[in-house]
Amino acid sequence: MRVLETGNHFVALAVRSAGVEVVPAYPITPQTQVIEKIADLIAEGEMEAEYIPVESEHSACAALISASLTGVRAFSATASHGLVYMHEMLHYAAGIRVPVVMANINRALGPGWNIWCDHQDAISQRDTGWLQVFVSSHQEIVDTVIQAFLVTENRDVLLPMMVNLDAFVLSHTYMDAEVPSPEEVKRYLPPYRPRWRLDTRLPVTHGSVVYPVDFSETRESMKEGQENAREIIREAAKGYEEMFGRWHGDLVEEYRVEDARHLILAMGSAAAECRVAVDSLREEGHSVGLLRVRFFRPFPVEEIRRLCQDRDDLLVMDRNYSYGLSGALYSEVKGVLYGRTNIPVRNLIMGLGGRDVTHQLIERMAVKAWKGELDDITWADSHSTKSHEITKEMLGRFEEMLD
């Protein structure tokens, strides 16, 4: 079925096609349309699921986990403050090994209340054990949400998965995309068969106290789940391609990289803007290509090492910042390249809190970088604004008052 919908509604439609049975959720801009659509689908009898209108995101994630432990397929969606409010439960979900899927609509964190796009929310959940994928088109939303269940439910993975899509740029824009029907998806994604569950026929204790003598192995097995996911993501994508004719299975998507001397690396919808930049830089005679990181976890370690061999340099764009260090992607990339190649790597911080990411700025920054005119880390789109002048004036008045 080909439909014209918002990114958020595509999430909901994919969730219905995936045969999700329980959806606990709490509203937050810009995620609300996802859960409103799901509530509507259920109310209209078009989707058979239990919707739990919980009283917080912490509870949404708690109910997501416990519903999954009963042996049913469960999904939730959130964004920004909602995601970080879940933080404890994100760890819990991965630790108790439930294969749940959650959409996160990437939005900045306050204060400086800001509902617009950046990746600070997801980046700050880096070490929770979740698989994290960042999509960059409406079609990829649909296909990735459906594939996510096959990946997480795989017995060699059994870790939760977060499907990240950029606020507004993807969540609220209309595009047309193909949505496989629930019947079609059933042939791709069989009904969920848990490996264990809360079942009175076999009373087992879950999540009990684990002493140091056993603990490390539980964490190592989570690590293995992430490592296994690398191949399982590809397999799930292959099966999907065979059935539906579309491929989304790379941890890193390449664009015009084959002969490129320079590389740009980005994540999420900004990668689309980077493509435009690559095209026009190529027209000007620059040899440049783009790496779009799809999976932040598991991180594309081997791919990035391979793709960065014998290049002149790499420019990493981050829509987030790890305070006291650098952009998060930048530090991950440098970490995996260390000792493998001495390619110079520079960091562009841009597009925070929904600031427009334009291909013109990317092009300007890229050329500067290649001329050696950029520092290691550049806040590419920062500039003084009228509001900053007003703040300065207020600070002056505070100084007078408080002195």
């Binding site: 049975e21 329980v22 606990p24 058979e48 699921a49 239990e50 739990i52 209108p53 919980v54 009283e55 917080s56 912490h58 509870s59 949404a60 708690a62 109910a63 997501l64 986990i65 416990s66 519903a67 999954s68 432990l69 009963t70 042996g71 049913v72 469960a74 404890e88 439960m89 819990y92 108790i96 809360l198 079942d199 009175t200 076999l202 009373p203 087992v204 204790t205 879950h206 999540g207 009990s208 106290v209 684990v210 002493y211 056993d214």
Partner: protein, 310 residues
């Protein structure tokens, strides 16, 4: 009437628990399991109960059990109840299990009140039991919203200066179909309340006073005695709330009806080390008076007035 002889013999709380001697939570679990039977899913939030069940890979609890995060009691139950509904829709469950959420007073009065309130408002079909030892025992006896005025804890070293909350009343205000209190000194009363809760649809809230020997500082052999004294002095009132009505039960009923005399609160305070300091202090009499007033206020709230013979 049930009698001890008529209780099911099957033990779902097995040997090998790592609880302290005289632990009220363990005895309460044992009785609750007898009432609910083996078709029960047990959920436990962080508390002494997370620890007393034993550690991986052993468990003293012979029910499917999920240990949940501290704040999530109501929400974890909501997810399980929704999952069960989905399984019933699939036709995979012949007999719906009872969902029992087991939490301490910290997990109920303090960090878990939001999730519990949400679950109650959504009319989630489960039994919530709060075993109230009036402190955070698991982390070494800190204060909670259930700690009574005057009581020593590690974070109220001079004695708590605020009153405890009346959470059962807060649950009644949610208009849930069943709220009850219980005491280990009256195990059949507790048992019957659990049986009743099992038959009612919707959110059931049962709170049990759980005198904790190391936390309250009394000998472990006196756990039942201290439980009984709490009821006899009115610091712990036994009642049920059903169909909009409060009904006193057991020893509390006899006390309200004037059939037995209420004992002074101070008798109950004196058998516990945690009130020693406040009783010996210049404010001792005032604390005693405030706790007596707390009892009167609780009776007034449930009964409308305090009979003159109390």
């Amino acid at each position: 009437m049930v009698s001890f002889k008529s209780l099911p013999e099957e033990e779902l709380f097995l040997a090998g628990s790592t609880a302290c001697q005289g632990c009220p939570a363990s005895l309460a679990l044992r009785i609750a399991f007898k009432a609910l039977g083996s078709n029960t899913i047990l959920l436990v939030v962080a508390s002494c109960t997370s620890v007393l069940q034993g550690s991986y890979p052993h468990s003293a609890i012979n029910l499917p059990l999920m240990n949940a995060a501290f704040a999530t009691g109501g929400a974890t139950a909501s997810g399980v109840v929704a999952g069960i509904k989905a399984l019933v829709k699939r036709g995979e469950l012949e007999e719906e299990p009872t969902v029992l959420m087991w939490a301490g007073d910290g997990g109920t009065y303090d960090i878990g009140i939001q999730a519990l309130s949400g679950a109650a408002e959504r009319e989630t079909d489960f039994i919530y039991v709060c075993y109230n030892n009036e402190m955070y025992s698991n982390t070494g006896t800190q204060r909670s919203g259930a700690t009574p005025i005057g009581a020593w804890t590690t974070t109220t070293p001079g004695g708590k200066v605020q009153h405890r909350k009346d959470i059962a009343q807060i649950m009644i205000a949610h208009r849930i179909p069943y709220v009850a209190t219980a005491s280990l000194a009256y195990p059949l009363d507790f048992y019957q309340k659990m049986l009743k809760a099992r038959e009612i649809r919707g959110t059931k809230y049962i709170e049990l006073l759980a005198p904790c020997p190391p936390g309250w500082k009394f000998p472990s052999s006196k756990m039942i005695e201290v439980s009984r004294m709490a009821v006899q002095c009115g610091m712990w009132l036994l009642y049920e709330h059903e169909d909009g009505e409060n009904r006193f039960t057991g020893a509390t009923k006899r006390m309200i009806e004037g059939k037995v005399k209420k004992k002074p609160v101070v008798d109950y305070l004196e058998v516990q080390g945690r009130f020693k300091q406040v009783l010996a202090s210049p404010e001792g009499k005032e604390a005693e008076r405030m706790l007596e007033e707390d009892v009167s206020e609780s009776i007034r709230r449930l009964h409308g007035w305090v009979p003159e013979y109390i």
